[in-house]
């Protein structure tokens, strides 16, 4: 008989939910959120915490509109990074990852077929249009305008980073480990020149000076000078010790060296010494160009472009997108900047690739939101179950036994009421370590008090009812009376509280995560909003703010809808008047 009553009390809420339209909607929404949580790995389009990076052959073109200079992004040249470019008399060449070579002629870019597959770092065009390219693992090859390729064998598979034609028959190659090679084109013979430093620092670039000598620059501000007829370079002292990435010398003798941390070294003519100049940004500069009259350009990470009028200060120019620029190519009509090695796809608005956009570290927000449902529901249901378990039992025991037991239990409830939620959770986090367990503990420790109070007051009136008295007369034990006679009667109230507390717990979890007290590296809706605010980007990136809040809202709302129909079971008088 008791069992059937228990069954009945469980059936009733279900019937109530099914009979209420709003509750049905709530149930449907809640079930879909549960499904989302269960199948989160399947539903996610990306790993939720993976930094999404992209790579492409970026091409920026300088445009002048009245006074305003802008560097505009043109459609990219394929998907491979472009590392170096050169231009001479109507022919432009750009080289990049996996042996990619692009040719620029008469305003058009076309991709050349190459026998190369390693990443290329350097390119240099001879007067007759013959082009030498070089790159990783000692790759060196010569392209002639008739379309043929000739490869050269190097003594060691070292990275070649820079090339300069010394004369029509010889080229200088510089690279990793302070390597300096002189390549005789006719014989293919390679002579290794000895660096005066000999500490294995990388050389990054080489350029020919107007007097036929060569400048070599590299790691830690290393600069070498090779006189036109000499085979031993001498060490040059330049200002600064940052890695130097590129050198360019104009026909007039004006020169520009760029490097890490906004390093800009300029000389006005062949006789002048190299002077360090202030950069408007301190990020890495990758390539520079200076014209005969001293008009200078430098490009670098994150789409940075600097320009300097002759004798003026360097100015940061507006550029289109945050690609990494690696090289400059200057033709008679155009200034091109090319790049872009892997760049983080930060704060991208929603697109086909990232449905809810990306965050400040280029992480996919759709996948984060999908995964966020797991923690919300876990804390919601587990927390609520714990709360109701503690609260219902405390209420039952206190209400049934009364006397001292009740006093102790209800005073404990009083104490719990006096403890504020967020600071208490912070103390728990400080005492232990932030974890899911702490969140659930904090939520449940401070919520069971309400349930205990409610259940107790209900039990207080129930225990005086005839059926309880009858059971007592029949000799039933206290436990039996409490759990088999009284409990089924408070079941509706328990269900109601359970539903409400699921909602409360979800909001509580979101609040803790928003304050940064949630478990580390876990993904929760509150945590996504926490990151959004912390990063400072939330005011622009609406795609970052809106979804998690809406998800919290509809989840909790659906639970509340369900709870409303349960309320009718718990409190039949409401139904009478509906």
């Amino acid at each position: 008989m008791n069992r059937s009553r228990l069954m009945k009390s469980a059936q009733e809420p279900i019937r109530a939910i099914l009979g209420d339209r709003l509750a049905l909607v709530g149930l449907a929404v809640l079930l879909s959120i549960i499904a989302m949580a269960l199948f989160a790995p399947l539903l996610s389009t990306h790993a939720p915490l993976a930094v999404n990076e992209r790579e492409e052959g970026s091409l920026f073109t300088r445009s002048v509109d009245g006074e305003q200079v802008r560097w505009l992004a043109s459609p990219p040249l394929g998907n491979a990074t472009l590392n170096a470019a050169d231009y001479r008399d109507g022919l432009g060449m750009a080289v990049g990852r996996d042996g990619v070579v692009w040719r620029y002629a008469e305003g058009d870019w076309s991709r050349l077929d190459t026998p190369l597959s390693t990443t290329l770092h350097a390119v240099n065009i001879r007067e007759d249009g013959a082009t030498l390219v070089a790159g990783a693992r000692g790759t060196v090859a010569l392209w002639t305008p008739d379309g043929s390729w000739q490869t050269y064998d190097m003594p060691e598979p070292l990275n070649v980073n820079g090339i300069a034609w010394r004369d029509a028959g010889t080229a200088l190659l510089v690279g990793g480990g302070e390597t300096i090679w002189r390549l005789d084109m006719a014989s293919g013979e390679v002579t290794s020149l000895e660096s005066p430093v000999g500490r294995g620092f990388d050389l990054n670039a080489v350029a020919l000076d107007v007097d036929g000598s060569a400048w070599l620059v590299g790691d830690r501000g290393l600069a070498l000078h090779l006189a036109s007829d000499a085979d031993t370079p001498s060490l040059e002292r330049l200002p600064g010790n940052r890695e130097l990435n590129h050198i360019h010398i104009a026909d007039s003798g004006a020169g520009l060296i760029v490097g890490e941390r906004g390093t800009l070294l300029v000389r006005d003519d062949a006789e002048a010494s190299w002077q360090s100049q202030d950069a408007p940004d301190s990020r890495a500069m990758r390539a520079g160009w200076i014209t005969d009259d001293g008009h200078a350009f430098a490009v670098g990470r994150s789409g940075i472009v600097f320009e300097r009028e002759p004798g003026g200060d360097w100015q940061l120019m507006p550029s289109d997108e945050e690609r990494h620029l690696r090289t400059l190519m200057v033709t008679e009509e155009h200034y091109f900047a090319l790049g872009s090695d892997r760049f983080v796809n930060r704060l991208a608005p929603p697109s086909g690739e990232h449905w809810f956009g990306t965050d400040h570290l280029g992480r996919d927000l759709f996948s984060q939101n999908v995964h966020g449902s797991q923690i919300a529901l876990l804390v919601g249901f587990l927390g609520a179950a714990l709360v109701v378990l503690i609260g219902a039992n405390v209420g039952l025991v206190a209400g049934y036994f009364r006397g001292r037991t009740e006093t102790v239990l209800m005073r404990t409830v009083d104490v719990m009421y006096g403890i504020p939620f967020e600071p208490f959770a912070l103390i728990l986090v400080l005492l232990f370590e932030p974890s899911l367990f702490i969140v659930i503990l904090a939520v449940s420790l401070l919520t069971w008090r309400t349930v205990a109070r409610l259940i107790r007051s209900q039990v207080l009136s129930l225990r005086e009812r005839p059926f309880v008295k009858a059971a007592r007369v029949a000799g039933a034990s206290d436990l039996r009376i409490m759990y088999l006679h009284i409990f089924p009667n408070v079941m509706p109230l328990v269900f109601l509280e359970l539903a409400i507390i699921v909602g409360v717990s979800i909001i509580a979890e979101a609040t803790l995560s928003f304050l940064g007290l949630g478990p580390p590296q876990s993904i929760s809706w509150g945590g996504i909003l926490h990151n959004a605010r912390l990063s400072g980007a939330w005011r622009e990136a609406w795609w970052w703010n809106l979804p998690p809040g809406l998800l919290i809202m509809i989840t909790v709302l659906s639970v509340f809808f369900i709870s409303r129909s349960l309320e009718l079971v718990a409190n039949p008088r409401l139904r009478a008047r509906r």
Binding site: R533, N545, G549, R564
Partner: protein, 326 residues
């Protein structure tokens, strides 16, 4: 009558007992669980000996029991001690912050209840109508959205987007006023109050609305309503003069509990709106192991909640004869 009085006395005593337990609990929890308050000074380059001297000046070099009894004795005398961090009397800091919190929370709660309760009554009257459903929907919707999110969205729309309202702090520069009341009786302050108070009020709105509506529905079933109806009184009059009056008790109860919890402030609202309230201060004091300040803030909040709960109980004993004094 005497049983009622002894009941009240007992409740008050229980309240003090709860406070004492909380105070003790916090004292040991902080001392044993939180990091050394001078730990942060390491980054300023202080040596262990120098830090030990600072600890001694805080009284932390004494045995923990001695510290505990000094602490209790001071509390009894109403002395909350000196903040480690601010080097200022804890009481000054707390009263100021509590004032800031309440000046935000009270108007918000009053607004929520002032709108929510009549609206709930009205909805119960129109029960089952489209207005009823959408009223419930809206009330529950704001109850379901976390306040920090509503706050962020409100800032985005009204602060940054439209530029109508200030989004942080309690006032704009230059600050002329120095007293608390000088500070709050200005248009500028009201201007700053609008957004955060609205966000809090919207969150709280659902609660009086639903309680009022549901209790009204219950009350409609009572005999005296049927009687009034039989007498042919107009529905509107029955609604407000008879039913609503009887349905107010649970709403008032809920109001008192809400105000009690409001002392702790809504930390997230204070964070989102840069409001210099007690909630933020208490988080900071725990983070910096400022024991005196943290202990006192917790105690003040607890005292607030317990007092308001006590008031509710008293209210019940006065208004509802069914409550026994056992």
């Amino acid at each position: 009558m005497s049983s009622r009085r002894s009941y009240l006395i007992r409740r008050v005593l229980h309240g003090f007992m709860a406070l004492f337990i909380i105070a003790t609990l916090l004292f040991f929890l902080f001392r044993l669980g939180l990091p050394d308050p001078t730990a942060a000074l390491i980054t300023e380059g202080l040596t262990p000996e120098e830090r030990e001297r600072i600890r001694a000046s805080f009284g932390l070099d004494r045995p923990i029991w001695e510290q505990y009894f000094i602490y209790l004795a001071n509390i009894v005398q109403g002395d909350f001690g000196y903040s480690f961090h601010y080097r200022a009397p804890v009481a000054d800091i707390i009263w100021e912050r509590l004032g800031n919190t309440m000046i935000l929370m009270l108007p918000a709660i009053v607004l929520a209840y002032g709108v929510g309760a009549p609206l709930g009554a009205w909805l119960s009257w129109r029960r089952g109508s489209r207005a009823d459903t959408s009223g419930i929907f809206v009330g529950l919707m704001f109850r379901s959205a976390p306040m920090f999110w509503t706050g962020m969205i409100a800032i985005l729309i009204f602060g940054i987007g439209l530029g109508w309202l200030p989004t942080s702090g309690m006032r704009t520069l230059p600050y002329e006023a120095s007293g608390f009341f000088d500070k709050i009786f200005t248009l500028d302050f009201l201007h700053h109050l609008i957004l955060p108070a609205l966000v809090v009020a919207l969150y709280y709105l659902g609660s009086p609305l639903l309680i009022m509506r549901n209790t009204m529905l219950e009350v409609y079933g009572e005999d005296f309503i049927e009687m009034a109806r039989a007498k042919g009184l107009p529905e509107r009059r029955i609604l407000y003069a008879h039913a609503a009056r009887n349905a107010l008790l649970p709403v008032v109860t809920q109001l008192a509990v809400t105000i009690g919890l409001a002392a702790g402030g809504q930390v997230v609202v204070e964070v989102v709106f840069s409001w210099p309230g007690l909630g933020r201060e208490i988080l900071n004091s725990v983070r910096t192991s400022d024991f005196p300040l943290a202990q006192a803030s917790f105690l003040v909040m607890a005292a607030f909640v317990i007092t308001l709960n006590l008031l509710v109980d008293i209210l019940y004993t006065m208004l509802d004869p069914r409550v026994s004094f056992k």
